[in-house]
């Protein structure tokens, strides 16, 4: 506590402080040397494009993405063209602007998203410089080409390229330039030597900053404030001019006494700034210059980059990440040495109270006498928000809470919400998350956006925890996160929660497994099933055949209904039909079964599968027929196949009904004859069989009659049909009833060598000697022919 002002530096009436946010977790061998760096505002990610150690044609630069604390999020060799500029969009996407004007967009994890071009002119003339800027319209890109022409895109998500008018006398790149947003128009401010121009859609207007010191021959650097309201110019004479961005008012001019052109120059302001300043960076020097003539100088011991924020400047170096800001007035009031501000007294009172000293009462009395206790509490609460160290925050909040006890009607909201905000902020500032947001930035950015950022970083559990803690409405909070989470799990890795596929995506698998297997997994699955729009979910799945087939497998075992929805979504009528047919078998009640089959018929019709539709219709017809017969005759036919039904009917002597089925279902004659024949044989109804044989000419011939009788061991009946068998089958028929003589006769008649041999093979040399001889003779004559 005693040292809280140790890092404060006075600048005019105000103080500036530089606090360390992180010790960087990255290990960069040469720090930020030879790197193209882009760090997003609001504590966003940092992208580095590192040039290879030895520049050769084969060595490729390495693109790396880190969190603000230096945790690696992606790293891959850059295989595209030479990059001139990196930048971040408001949605945490990385823009890589190439020399040829192509802009490639990657996500936080280095996955390529899309690309666009800054126009054809760039392709011919190459790009000299580019800037990425943010405006209420989104993220924009501005470039200047080799032909000294500017091209602007105000919003990269709704790409409209604007080529700005020519700048008279400009050759090559301007000495410095910046993008401004004024009057809802995006303009370019550029300096060519000592001349300053404003370029808008239609014109190029020369402008003069009021009161710029005349020694300057050239403007070498310029900076526009975070809000586009202020402008700073740095001249070759070492003068810093500060004024409004519309160039109407001058704030001040400071002689820095450094004449080398600075490496970087940014505004350092905060809302309700007492002493806005500009931070100028050279190789080893960081200089803060305000309206007053004072400056603060810091030595830089490493290559660094300044990032302008809403309420300060972040300085990212190879080993440290710091925040430079004007000390907010609430903090000044409380911590300034010998301050008698109400907040300072309250803090002191609480300190004494902790020590159980009666001085606490004295201090309190003093505050109460001035009746500024309310003000004291307010100051402590506000100051807590500006402090980075949780310990300091706690001290201030405890003091506020202490003071509140002596107030009867102090509204509790500011205190409670500050506690909540700080809890959230401390969580995201944590090293592992690495989003060093200040309270001011957080309020500006809103919780929704913070949640989005966490989601982009795939920090789902934290995002959910925060939503729950802040009691964000479900649809804005938890549900939204879960949906993102689910989509991420499905889209990006192609794995669903059934993933087991090693060879296909073993790499991502690991990360996903570890992510998914947190305690939130169950809620994700439940959410997926119950809350996420099925349609979206299925559409996502659709592009992932492997995941889809796995999901189908899963549904088959677990959730039949989901399967149906899935087919529905795909308009897969064939599978839907199959689904209903399958479901019909599980259904015991006939009516329900029929209605399922009817659904199947409808689906098959939609699938233009007439065959299946007809077959299913027939099945329905058959089921109805079976039920009628079961009811009338007490048979148990339901569920049998057509053939089995016919067979059952024939064996139970329901010839009329069988006949009807045969006609209704257009059973092929051959089948029907076979069926009836075997049925009759099975119940030894030889009389009926004879009648049947005579009813009309058999479509299957008469050999089956013989065979069926033999099978039933009735040679007597079999013989009756032998004579009706066609000549070609005579031999077979005779053999079937064991009539060798007859077979021999038939074979010899037909003079067929093959048939004679068949009969011969059945003769035994002992008993059928005469026959053998006859056959042998016949064979030799047959073979002679």
């Amino acid at each position: 506590m005693a040292f809280i002002t140790a890092n404060w530096n006075p600048l005019g009436e105000a103080f500036y402080r530089k606090i360390e946010l992180y010790e960087m977790g990255w290990s960069l061998r040469d720090g930020l040397k030879d790197c193209l760096v882009a760090a997003a505002p609001y504590g966003g990610p940092i992208a580095l494009l590192r040039q290879p150690q030895r520049p050769s044609s084969s060595a490729r630069p390495q693109l790396e993405i880190y969190s603000s604390s230096g945790t690696n999020m992606a790293s891959f060799p850059w295989k595209s063209g030479p990059v001139r500029q990196l930048g971040w969009t408001v949605c945490d996407d990385l823009l890589c602007i190439q020399e040829d004007g192509t802009v490639l967009i990657y996500d936080l994890f280095g996955a390529f998203k899309r690309h666009f071009s800054m126009g054809n002119e760039v392709v011919q003339n190459q790009m000299l410089e580019a800037k990425v800027f943010h405006s209420p319209y989104g993220t924009g890109v501005a470039i200047v080409t080799g032909a000294s022409r500017f091209t602007l895109a105000t919003n990269i998500d709704d790409l409209k390229l604007r080529r700005l008018p020519e700048v008279p006398g400009l050759q090559g790149a301007p000495s410095c330039w910046a993008v401004l947003t004024q009057d809802r128009q995006t303009k370019v401010l550029l300096a060519n030597g000592a001349d300053l121009y404003i370029l808008d859609n239609t014109s190029c207007t020369p402008v003069t900053p009021p009161g710029l010191s005349p020694q300057a021959c050239s403007i070498v650097n310029m900076a526009v404030s975070f809000s586009y309201k202020y402008l700073a110019l740095f001249t070759d004479s070492g003068h810093l001019w500060m004024g409004s961005a519309n160039l109407k008012d001058k704030l001040s001019e400071v002689d820095t006494k450094v004449r080398t052109p600075p490496k970087q120059m940014v505004w350092c302001r905060r809302p309700k700034s007492q002493q806005p300043s500009v931070v100028i960076m050279w190789d080893r020097l960081l200089l803060v210059a305000g309206e007053c003539t004072d400056t603060i100088q810091y030595t830089l011991d490493e290559e660094s980059v300044c990032v302008a924020e809403l309420d300060g400047v972040r300085i990212v170096g190879g080993s440290r990440h710091e925040l430079l800001q004007e000390v907010p007035s609430a903090c000044q009031d409380i911590f300034k040495i010998a301050s008698m501000a109400p907040g300072a007294l309250l803090l002191e009172a609480h300190k004494e109270y902790d020590k159980s000293s009666q001085k606490a009462d004295e201090y309190l009395r003093e505050i109460k006498e001035q009746s500024v206790l309310g003000e004291a509490v307010r100051q402590c609460v506000e100051a807590a928000g500006y402090e980075h160290e949780p310990e300091t925050q706690k001290t201030l909040l405890r003091a506020a809470s202490f003071g509140k006890c002596f107030l009867s009607n102090y509204p509790p909201e500011p205190f409670v919400s500050m506690c909540r905000d700080l809890k959230v902020l401390n969580a995201v500032r944590d090293y592992t998350v690495g989003i060093p947001l200040t309270h001011t930035q957080y309020k500006q950015m809103t919780v929704q956006v913070l949640i989005d950022r966490l989601v982009y970083r795939k920090l789902y559990p934290l995002a959910i925890e925060i939503c729950r803690y802040l009691k964000t409405p479900e649809y804005q909070g938890v549900s939204r996160v879960l949906k993102h989470w689910a989509c991420c799990a499905f889209c990006q890795t192609g794995v669903n929660f059934l993933d087991d596929m090693g060879p296909i995506m073993s790499g991502e698998n690991q990360t996903l497994h570890s992510t998914v297997r947190t305690s939130y997994q169950r809620s994700m699955v439940t959410y997926l099933k119950n809350e996420m729009n099925r349609g979206d979910f299925f559409m996502t799945l659709r592009n992932q055949p492997v995941a889809l087939s796995l999901y189908r497998q899963f549904c088959k075992h677990q959730e039949q209904d989901t399967l149906k929805d899935l087919f529905n979504q795909d308009d897969d009528h064939q599978e839907l039909g199959n689904f209903y047919v399958k479901a019909s078998y599980k259904e015991k009640k006939l009516e329900a079964r029929l209605s399922l089959l009817q659904s199947a018929v409808d689906e098959y019709n939609k699938a233009k599968n007439e065959f299946a539709a007809k077959a299913t219709e027939e099945e329905m017809k058959l089921l109805r027929f079976q039920r009628r017969l079961d009811e009338e005759k007490g048979e148990a036919l339901l569920g049998l196949s057509l053939q089995e039904t016919l067979h059952a009917l024939l064996t139970s002597n329901f010839h009329k009904q069988a006949e009807q089925l045969y006609r209704d279902f257009r059973v092929p004659d051959k089948r029907y004859w076979w069926l009836k024949l075997t049925a009759l044989a099975e119940k030894d109804d030889w009389e009926e069989m004879e009648k049947f044989a005579k009813s009309k000419k058999s479509p299957i011939g008469y050999l089956p009659f013989v065979e069926v009788c033999v099978k039933q061991h009735n040679k007597y009946e079999a013989k009756k049909y032998v004579s009706k068998v066609t000549p070609e089958q005579k031999v077979k028929a005779h053999l079937a009833i064991g009539d060798l003589e007859g077979a021999a006769e038939a074979a010899i008649d037909r003079r067929s060598e093959g048939e004679i041999s068949t009969v011969l093979s059945r003769c035994s040399p002992t008993t059928d000697r005469a026959l053998l001889e006859r056959l042998n003779r016949a064979r030799s004559t047959a073979s002679k022919k």
Binding site: F497, L498, D499, D500, M501, G502, P503, I504, S506, H513, Q521, R522, V525, P545, V546, S549, L550, R552, Q553, F554, H557, Q558, Q574, N578, V581, K582, Y585, K586, F611, A612, A615, T616, E618, E619, L622, L640, S641, L642, Q643, E644, F665, V667, P668, K670, R671, W674, L675, T678
Partner: protein, 617 residues
């Protein structure tokens, strides 16, 4: 034996090591749940488990009672339950029910699930969903490979075929890759890998990843070459009736995990006998690869020899008799017992297979393979369906017809399907849908490119010529891949020559000289060419995904053909048949190579087609 074994054929590696590894790990896992426990075993893991660790071993490690998983509430008094299961949703669901029932009953037990050969994420997910993730511990028993014989190793995963090729579920690919990796780390390093098929390629990639992750040890390789093949590269072969003894035994009696149960009709007693069928069985070992027509003759010769051996006794004095009894009699008796069993089996098969029906069936099959008298074949199939001879057989013939003819004509397709449904029930509508998806039974599509060309050419000529053109084009379109493959690879020997089954001249003998199995022919060709060069046309027709890679640097000694270079591991993804194994053994003898067959499961036509059925259950 008619075949002469080339003297330089290398020795096979000793695969009993795999069993030992599996047993040790299982024991380790069981001891992770100290104390007495009841063990529930998935039904189809029982036989494989039996080959690894018998009941005594399990009891030694505190297993109290053994139960089969039956998807019913359990009756167990033990405080610790251990489940040894396949990673199947159905089984995990059952375990959840068991645990939740205990919870509802207020009963506290410890549960452990051991997944074999690996767990799937979906299973764990289910545990979580059912709220018992914290109540059970899970483990993996990496029992990937079960050696069924000296040269057959099975993953015992019959569902691989359906899951992978029909459902598009690729979870098992990793399993295959891991199995290969296990073989590689014990018997490798492999120097050359060939393969064909999408799944093979993925399995290969999975293997390679695992090799890259793991550490390399320089060791003398025992297995040099590997060939991976997807079952759907060749679906014709497993659908043919098997006529080699081992295959036939499998078709008729169903060999389960290297063991067959011969019923009373074989043993000619009222009991069934379980027999292990492997190279330990001397009689079986000599006939397993023989064409069935040769087996009977061989067995009777053997019987006579045995009789002579027994007969030696008659002239012996006491001393000789003593040596005979102590040294020979036991072996003779053993041989006697086996011989009588195989004779019984042969008789039983003979009864079924020499019937008219079977001969006609074979004739039809051969006609289909040759592309000869297709109309007659169709009427034969029709009659087969009409007479309801056998559902699976009917389906098999339909599929063979479709595969060999590149699909059925729309008219035939419809009428045969309609008749099939009338015969065997409408639920086969779903089966047909599966068969279609897998390409086993499809309708002929007029070639699209041809139709385009046809319409273009058609515009240039008059109607009459156009009609002729259409005919010509449709006959072109009908050209089946199978036929083209057959011609290019000489799969179907000319039928006019007599084929002497006693002295087989090529692998076609396993199908009575009618057809050389495509799968084995591919292996032969690739090994001969050391890659796929010259087979571009063939791979195009087989849908590509072929590869041939040299792994590791020890391929440099290619000039010196070490023994390991002549040992080839063939991995069938989706199953292989005993006939194919016989064919490969034949090929090995011819070329002085040794083949080791690794398969996801032993399959045959019935198993393959049954996996396509969609049971109502």
């Amino acid at each position: 034996m008619a075949h002469s074994v080339r003297r330089d054929a290398p020795e096979l590696p000793d695969f009993s090591l795999l069993k030992r590894l599996a047993r040790d790990q299982l024991i380790y896992l069981l001891e992770q749940l100290p104390g007495r426990k009841d063990l529930f075993i998935e039904a189809d893991l029982m036989s494989p488990l039996d080959r690894i660790a018998n009941v005594t071993t399990l009891k030694q490690h505190d297993v109290d009672k053994l139960y089969k998983v039956e998807y019913k509430p359990i009756v167990s008094t033990s405080d610790q339950l251990c489940f040894l299961i396949r990673p199947r949703i159905k089984t995990v669901k059952w375990i959840c029910d068991v645990v939740n029932a205990d919870k509802a009953f207020g009963r506290f037990r410890r549960y452990k699930i051991i997944f074999s050969p690996q767990k799937f994420y979906s299973c764990e997910n289910l545990l979580e969903e059912q709220g018992i993730f914290g109540d059970v511990t899970t483990d993996e028993w990496s029992f990937y490979l079960l050696p069924l014989d000296d040269d057959i190793i099975s993953l015992e995963l019959p569902e691989f075929f359906r899951d992978n090729f029909l459902e598009g579920d690729q979870r098992w690919v990793r399993t295959a890759g891991s199995a290969l990796h296990l073989l590689h780390s014990v018997y490798g390093p492999f120097s050359k890998l060939y393969g064909i098929g999408r799944c093979s390629k993925m399995a290969y990639e999975s293997w390679r990843e695992q090799v890259e992750e793991g550490e390399q040890r320089a060791r003398q390789a025992e297995i040099g070459n590997v060939f991976l093949i997807d079952r759907d590269v060749d679906l014709v072969t497993p659908l043919c009736s098997q006529v080699v003894y081992e295959g036939l035994v499998d078709d008729i009696f169903r060999i389960k995990c290297g063991c067959v149960e011969f019923g009373p009709d074989v043993t000619s007693s009222d009991k069934s006998i379980k027999v292990m069928l492997n190279s330990q069985d001397k009689v079986f070992n000599e006939i397993r690869n023989e064409h069935f027509s040769q087996v009977f003759g061989f067995l009777s010769q053997k019987a006579r020899n045995l009789q002579t051996a027994y007969d030696k006794r008659s002239g012996m004095d006491i001393k000789q008799m003593k040596t005979f009894v102590s040294e020979e009699l036991k072996g003779l008796k053993q041989e006697h017992r086996l011989l009588s069993l195989h004779i019984g089996a042969s008789e039983s098969m003979m009864k079924r297979k020499t019937k008219q029906d079977f001969q006609e069936l074979l004739k039809t099959e051969h006609s289909l393979l040759e592309g000869f008298e297709i109309r007659e074949c169709i009427s034969y199939i029709e009659e087969h369906i009409n007479r309801q001879v056998s559902m699976v057989e009917s389906m098999r013939l339909l599929c063979l017809l479709s595969l060999t003819e590149n699909g059925l004509l729309p008219k035939d397709y419809r009428s045969l399907k309609a008749q099939f449904l009338q015969s065997y029930g409408i639920d086969h509508l779903l089966t047909f849908s599966n068969l279609k998806q897998l390409g086993l039974l499809v309708e002929q599509q007029p070639g699209e490119t041809l139709t385009v060309m046809e319409s273009r050419v058609g515009k240039l000529v008059n109607d009459k010529t156009a009609g002729k053109l259409t005919d010509a084009f449709s006959s072109l379109a009908k050209k089946s891949n199978f036929r083209a493959l057959g011609r290019r690879l000489n799969l179907v020997p000319k039928s006019d020559e007599e084929y002497d089954l006693r002295v087989p001249r090529d692998m076609a003998y396993i199908f009575s000289g009618a057809y050389i199995p495509l799968s084995c022919k591919l292996i032969e060709q690739v090994l001969e060419r050391d890659g796929w060069t010259g087979l571009e046309e063939v791979t195009r027709m087989l849908n590509g995904h072929e590869f041939a890679v040299t792994a590791g640097s020890n391929g440099s000694d290619a000039r010196v053909k070490t023994d390991s270079q002549r040992i080839i591991l063939v991995m069938f993804l989706g199953g292989c048949t005993f006939s194919e194994i016989s064919a490969l053994r034949f090929l090995g003898r011819e070329k002085g190579l040794k083949f080791i067959v690794v398969t996801t499961a032993i399959t045959n036509s019935a198993r393959l087609l049954e996996s396509m059925l969609d049971n109502h259950a």
